[in-house]
């Protein structure tokens, strides 16, 4: 019973991290394309589209981030302590991105004049690179087995910056660019702007190759640094999701290359979430590979009962609320300006 409840909390934690990766990824990806847009008429048009597409869902992503942190320290206090004790530099850098992003949201609409707009765009772009890279790097550092229980067992800088953490960060950058471009295709279609559909379609195809390349690099890093993890990604709990990611990622690129606008967003979400789930489930039952299992990290049972109740209430309240938001949004009840 205790083990089942702790596993449930661990699953909630993994799903929350996945949700942040997907939802945040779309927004960060938009920021990366904003940064890479360069100058000229088309870049201006692309930025205008990104701006529009971002507005209604903006800061909501922090919700996932905060909830995953809270589930971690409540349900798995020892994991939380260990991860922060070893990886605080990575979290600090990721946080810097979160702050810059928040500042940008306030900044971009009071920015007037090309120089200010350039500055605002730069802040948005930097935050969109820094945040996903360093958050994903923490997952890579954990997977590399360099996080000690309670206190660091290797020098902090070594725990933070190693082939695994860096390759996870690169995968995250490619994945956000990938999902950002894919969703911007959808937005361009919704607003009926054919040349922007083509613009982001091309970028989605490029990002697909980027994701495949960094993904392969990541697998090589895992193979050298954490062979056991690779083993359970190939033949273990992580396998279905690893396979799903391998199938869905090129499929998105293929569909967009051929201009077949069906299922591509669902497949994008599927591909990115499969990446995260493949890692998380391949690590099970370990939270820190080889040393700290879910049951060893778990808080006393009453805490997990409480977390299960909180999660249940959350689903009951938030699911219909989100449904309402989507319903109003689809009926264009939430768009103060006409397009």
């Amino acid at each position: 019973m205790t083990a089942a409840l702790a596993n449930l909390s661990a699953l909630v934690l993994l799903i929350t991290v996945t949700a942040y990766s997907v939802a945040g990824g779309v927004d960060f990806g938009a920021g990366i394309w904003d940064l890479l847009a360069g100058g000229g008429e088309q870049a201006h048009e692309a930025r205008a589209l990104i701006d529009h597409a971002m507005a209604p869902v903006w800061e909501a992503n922090n919700v996932w981030l905060v909830f995953s942190i809270v589930v971690c320290w409540t349900g798995f206090p020892l994991l939380f302590q260990s991860v922060f004790a070893s990886l605080y530099p990575l979290f600090s850098l990721a946080l810097l991105g979160v702050i810059l992003r928040g500042a940008f949201f306030a900044f971009r609409h009071i920015a007037s004049g090309p120089r200010m707009e350039r500055a605002s765009s730069l802040v948005f772009g930097i935050s969109s690179v820094v945040t996903p890279f360093f958050f994903a790097a923490t997952l890579g550092a954990i997977a590399s087995g360099r996080v000690g229980i309670g206190e660091p067992t290797v020098p902090v800088w070594e725990a933070c910056f190693n082939p695994m953490s860096i390759s996870f960060g690169l995968v995250a950058l490619a994945a956000t660019a990938f999902s950002g471009a894919s969703f911007l295709v959808g937005d361009a279609r919704r607003y009926g702007i054919p040349d922007m559909v083509d613009y982001f379609r091309r970028r989605a195809v490029v990002a697909t190759f980027g994701l495949i390349a960094t993904g392969a690099l990541g697998l090589v890093a895992i193979g050298f640094e954490a062979p056991r993890l690779l083993g359970s990604m190939i033949g273990g709990l992580g396998t279905p999701f690893a396979l799903a990611a391998i199938v869905m990622t090129p499929l998105v690129g293929f569909l967009l290359w051929r201009g077949r606008f069906v299922w591509y967003r669902v497949l994008t979400v599927g591909a990115v979430s499969s990446l995260v789930l493949a890692w998380g489930l391949a690590q099970a039952p370990f939270m820190l590979p080889g040393t700290l299992t879910v049951s060893k990290a778990a808080a006393p049972v009453a805490t997990h009962v409480a977390l299960a109740i909180v999660t249940g209430v959350l689903v009951l309240l938030v699911a219909p609320s989100l449904g309402l938001l989507v319903y109003f949004d689809q009926r264009s009840a939430l768009e103060p300006t006409k397009y």
Partner: protein, 469 residues
């Protein structure tokens, strides 16, 4: 030389400063995040049910300010949750299973706020008014739920409960309900919630009090002043009573904090109340106004009541002299401002009942103009009282702040602190600039008697269409 010593020491000092700085900053946004939706909805309700376009215009404008501050508060709040891990990993590692429960509940509230603030702000034009109003209503309980969660966690630090510790001091078992509802929760919660409703009310009203002083006397100004001020004025005397109950609760729950608030050195009867004044290292009180036996009377309604004194506790288990003085002066400042707020409220209701109209005295509006900032100072000093008064404990009588701190080098935390101060300053400047720009545009609109939508082109909403149509 000095710098070298600071950088070589452990990270305790910069960690405390960083936590204090980021929390003090975040608390500035809390009254607007939790209580402003109530005032905005009240105004929208007046607008809808009395068919008053002016009230609706006020509500729309307030909702924009609410949204801008929510954007900033979501960031500073996220940073706080990470700071628990970066600065105090050992506290979370040991007590997260109990302390964290309140934050889990706050997580639900954060989700609901994020969704419904979006619907509310974007729905002004296209949603039917009553549906729009009902959507906004969700923000009120969501804000209260969030406040409950955070205060519950803070109350747990003050009066930890619902846990058993094994021989090595590690957490043995948890009783989740007992950990959520600790002894300090009832008075902390009501004291806090009333404080932020009161602060939001006084602060919003103070803007229109300034407008009155500058000669604006139309229906817009009257309504925007009277609605929040009346609510805040109703709450002000209640807060005095609730605050008194809170202080009384501390006598048994956290005697060291109470002794520091009153800078009382010896546990005895006939303890005087000291207003202002400082405690010296040898337990003497210098300066300050001394009212004989009043502290004892406040504690137990009798001069014979025994009040706790600092010297009854081991030096390493009670606030230092400096901390006691900070706690005491912050407490006195909060009580003084609270009393002044209640007096202003009495003035307001006296005029309102006698003349059946708003006050017309310049001095009243000068007071009302100061009440906004005064309420904020009171909130901050109340927070200083409770946090500094708990020292040296991060979890009262269970874990010291120095045992919870990160093992990161001091230089690292100092650097992070310096960066945070700079970035927070920029965010503050941006926030103020946005609000001033909004004000300037609204003023132009009012002069031109335009009724176009004020929420266009602000940070939260999409800017007017720049795409081809």
């Amino acid at each position: 030389m000095r710098l070298a010593i600071l950088l070589a020491a452990d990270a305790l000092l910069p960690s405390r400063i960083q936590m204090a700085f980021t929390l003090a900053y975040h608390i500035l946004l809390v009254p607007f995040g939790v209580a402003l939706p109530f005032y905005t909805l009240l105004m929208e309700g007046i607008g809808i049910f009395r068919g008053d376009p002016i009230a609706l215009r006020i509500a729309r404008r307030w909702s924009v300010v609410m949204a801008v501050q929510f954007a900033v508060g979501a960031v500073t709040g996220t940073i706080l949750s990470f700071e628990f891990g970066i600065l105090w990993p050992k506290m979370l590692g040991r007590f997260g299973a109990a302390f964290g429960l309140g934050f889990a509940i706050e997580g639900i509230a954060f989700f609901l706020e994020a969704i419904f603030i979006g619907i509310y702000l974007y729905g002004w034009r296209r949603l039917p008014p009553r549906i729009h109003f009902v959507m906004g209503l969700v923000l009120i309980p969501a804000g209260l739920l969030g406040a409950f969660g955070v205060v519950s966690s803070n109350a747990w630090m003050n009066t930890p409960g619902g846990v058993t510790l094994d021989a090595s001091g590690q957490l043995g078992s948890v009783d989740a309900l007992a950990a959520l509802f600790t002894k300090a929760l009832p008075y902390e919660f009501w004291h806090f919630v009333i404080a932020i409703y009161l602060t939001a009310g006084f602060f919003v009203a103070s803007i229109y009090a300034v407008a009155w002083l500058r000669g604006r006397r139309d229906q817009y100004q009257r309504l925007a002043f009277a609605v929040p001020f009346t609510i805040a004025a109703l709450l002000a005397p209640v807060e005095v009573v609730v605050g008194d109950l809170s202080a009384r609760g501390l006598v048994s729950d956290q005697p060291t904090k109470f002794a520091a608030m009153e800078i009382n050195w010896k546990t005895q009867s006939h303890v005087p109340e000291i207003i202002g004044g400082l405690l010296t290292g040898s337990g003497e009180v210098v300066l300050g106004i001394v009212i004989p036996s009043l502290d004892s009377i406040l504690v137990g309604y009798s001069p014979d009541a025994v009040a706790p004194g600092l010297s009854s506790f081991a030096p390493d288990a009670r606030p230092t002299t400096i901390e006691a003085n900070i706690t005491h002066l912050a407490f006195d400042l909060m009580v003084g401002l609270g009393t002044a707020g209640a007096a202003l409220a009495a003035w307001y209701f006296f005029v309102l009942i006698r003349r059946r109209d708003l006050p017309q005295s310049r001095w009243f509006y000068r007071g009302a103009a100061l009440a906004g900032v005064g309420a904020y100072v009171a909130v901050e000093s109340g927070w200083v009282t409770t946090e500094v008064g708990r020292q040296p404990w991060i979890v009262y009588n269970a874990m010291r702040v120095s045992d919870a701190v990160t093992s990161a080098p001091a230089a690292y935390v100092w650097t992070m602190l310096a960066l945070l101060v700079m970035v927070y300053a920029v965010i503050g400047i941006i926030f103020v600039t946005v609000v001033l720009k909004l004000r300037a545009r609204w003023r132009r609109d009012d002069l031109a008697e335009l009724t176009e939508t004020p929420e266009e082109g602000v940070p939260y909403g999409p800017r007017p269409a720049t795409l081809r149509s």
